[in-house]
């Protein structure tokens, strides 16, 4: 009897801290490191606030927004019309999109690959399976080994829409569960090619992408901001309706000068200097 009472008392004491509502942020794996840094800094600056960050892919985050299990959905792609309609249907309010950072999708090849530059057209042909040998793009006579992301990833959808122009990936494109896994795979595979958020490109080399003027550009901050790098995209945070309450405070902080400084530290590109 005494032990039960003691346990209940301990639980009651702990309850207030358990009951503190955390702002939940869920979604894009491309953004997860950035979101975690933001959450850490924000909680350090505001000790009474709690922010909870999880990854899982842009699709997972948006699904959570629709199911009501998250306050903010991180996405590296735009919400589709039918997804927006579902939010409207369930919550009678449209989802609101806030651009929080910019990213360049980098194309990685193994360090030993002689190919240094590719045009968006060549990248499309490689990923749809039209080009299957490196010699067709100026490399060695070796088969191209394609690495892609799972279809729950916003990066997958972005590359499909903007690079492949809505054509299908080749069936032989191997799918890996995250950008770090793609980088790892390409680093181990000398004929490999992969894509991912620019912040993760360590251990492999970035391919220069031919811009509109015929010159090759690396995914640096200047090139992404100016639009010279062809494969750049905005990173979003979605909320049900206009951001309000603690979620709004968090998003406003991320858009402030302090928050945007962290964007550069992680390796993405701020939306305002």
């Amino acid at each position: 009897m005494k032990r039960t009472l003691l346990a209940l008392a301990a639980l009651a004491a702990a309850a207030p801290s358990l009951a503190l509502a955390a702002v939940t942020v869920k979604g894009s794996d491309t953004m997860v490191i950035l979101a975690q840094r933001w959450a850490e800094e924000y909680m350090k600056k505001n000790p009474s606030r709690k922010v909870q960050v999880t990854g899982g892919g842009s699709g997972t985050g948006i699904a959570a927004l629709i199911n009501g299990t998250t306050d903010i959905a991180d996405a590296s792609r735009g919400m589709k019309d039918d997804e927006k309609a579902k939010v409207q249907e369930k919550f009678s309010v449209a989802p609101v999109e806030t651009v929080v950072a910019k990213d360049g999708v980098a194309i990685y090849v193994n360090d030993s690959n002689p190919v240094k530059q590719l045009s968006p057209e060549q990248i499309k042909k490689i990923y749809t399976g039209e080009i299957t040998n490196w010699k067709d793009v100026g490399g060695n006579d070796a088969p191209v080994v394609l690495y892609s992301r799972e279809n729950s990833s916003g990066t997958y959808v972005f590359v499909k829409e903007h690079v492949l122009k809505n054509e299908d990936y080749a069936a032989s494109a191997q799918t890996l569960p995250g950008t770090a896994a793609v980088v790892n795979a390409v680093a181990k595979e000398k004929n490999g090619i992969g894509y991912g958020g620019a912040a993760y490109a360590k251990g492999v080399k970035d391919v220069l992408v031919t811009g509109a003027d015929g010159q090759g550009y690396k995914p640096t901050e200047e090139n992404v901001a100016s639009g010279k790098y062809a494969l750049s995209r905005p990173l979003f945070m979605y909320t049900r309706g206009q951001p309000a309450g603690e979620a709004k405070e968090f998003i406003d902080w991320c858009l402030s000068a302090e928050g945007q400084k962290l964007v550069t530290a992680v390796g993405y590109f701020p939306i305002r200097k």
């Binding site: 699709g59 629709i66 080994v145 499909k160 809505n166 299908d168 069936a171 032989s172 494109a173 191997q174």
Partner: protein, 337 residues
């Protein structure tokens, strides 16, 4: 007569033949009935859980057959027959559910699952059964006491750790040894799977072999057979039902194993019989794509349908195996007389 209390005027002999008061007997009978009832309830809960899981999975997959909206995207024909996706190109099997035109062919997934299971069984069955025969027939007692726990330790390694091992170490080593063009392929995933299947086959086979009466071995040796001949021609056939059951259990394990194939198979939905190519299996597809789907859509229903397929497949394989085992036992009991 009870030593502990005066025998009451009204008494009865209970099942043990001891004189007890009527109320005490009733209490014991009641307690027995309650305990039996509780155990039966627990057993029924297990059965209920299986049935309810099947019902839930089936219900979520039902829109495939009932919803007109889902039918616009996918139906049984489009899942199993080759489809023409590009004007002028041949009909093909494509699994690419996210895109402007979603494509849901099950065939690449079936082929992938079968390839990986084939590799796993080709390696695990000889190794598992041979290890069981060695441990049961040839190993000294001390060696057996070391061998059994070590192989069973393999069963205790979490599958995610084995998948990680296959991805980081085995894949590179196999690529340098065999020169695969895909580093992550059916062979790597199959070998990773074999690591989980071997302990299953070993444990059950070894128990089956151990259950064969000593008289069989002694008779065979007395008739002049060598130990090898005894093991393979007498003991193994006698333990055949158990060994077969072990193989089926291993098969069921490898069909449903998710983590190893998710990490080490490359997950490319290729429809070809080449073992050196990357594969996408049914369970890995569910694991990889479930996070993305929106409730109630066509993709959601298809993923649950894959769950139903896996359920039916395992159920069929287990039933078939049970039937074969029954036939074998009957035939051997009949022949033995």
């Amino acid at each position: 007569m009870s030593r502990f209390a005066p025998v009451p005027a009204i008494a009865q002999l209970d099942e043990g033949g001891v004189a007890r008061p009527l109320s005490s007997i009733r209490r014991r009978q009641l307690r027995e009935a309650l305990i039996e009832g509780a155990i039966t309830l627990v057993a029924l809960t297990g059965i209920a859980a299986v049935v309810l899981i099947f019902v839930f999975v089936g219900r979520e997959a039902l829109p495939l057959f009932t919803s007109a909206e889902v039918h616009k995207e996918v139906d049984l024909g489009r899942m199993f027959l080759p489809q023409v996706w590009k004007v002028g190109r041949a009909a093909s099997f494509v699994w690419q559910p996210v895109g402007t035109v979603p494509k849901y062919s099950m065939i690449p997934l079936f082929v992938g699952t079968l390839k990986v299971t084939l590799v796993a069984m080709l390696v695990a069955v000889p190794v598992g059964v041979a290890a069981a025969i060695f441990a049961s027939e040839f190993a000294s007692r001390r060696l057996r006491e070391v061998l059994k726990p070590t192989i069973e330790l393999l069963a205790g390694i979490p599958s995610v750790v084995l998948g990680f091992f296959a991805l980081m170490v085995m894949a590179t080593w196999l690529q340098t040894a065999f020169g695969f063009s895909f580093r992550l392929n059916a062979v790597v995933a199959g070998l990773g799977l074999a690591l989980t299947v071997v302990p299953v086959i070993f444990t059950v086979s070894e128990d089956a072999l151990g259950a064969v009466p000593r008289s069989y071995r002694e008779a065979s040796l007395a008739l002049g057979a060598t130990r090898w001949e005894t093991a393979f021609r007498v003991v193994l056939p006698a333990a055949a039902p158990g060994v077969l059951a072990a193989i089926v259990l291993g098969f069921g394990r490898s069909i449903g194993e998710t983590m190893i194939v998710l990490m080490a198979s490359g997950n490319a939905s290729i429809t070809s019989w080449s073992l050196g190519e990357s594969v996408r299996t049914l369970p890995a597809t569910i694991a990889a794509e479930m996070g993305e789907v929106v409730f109630g859509g066509a993709h959601y229903a298809v993923l649950f349908f894959i769950g139903v397929e896996l359920f039916l497949f395992t159920f069929t394989v287990n039933s078939l195996a049970a039937w074969i085992v029954r036939r074998l036992v009957r035939r051997m009991a009949g022949a033995g007389g």
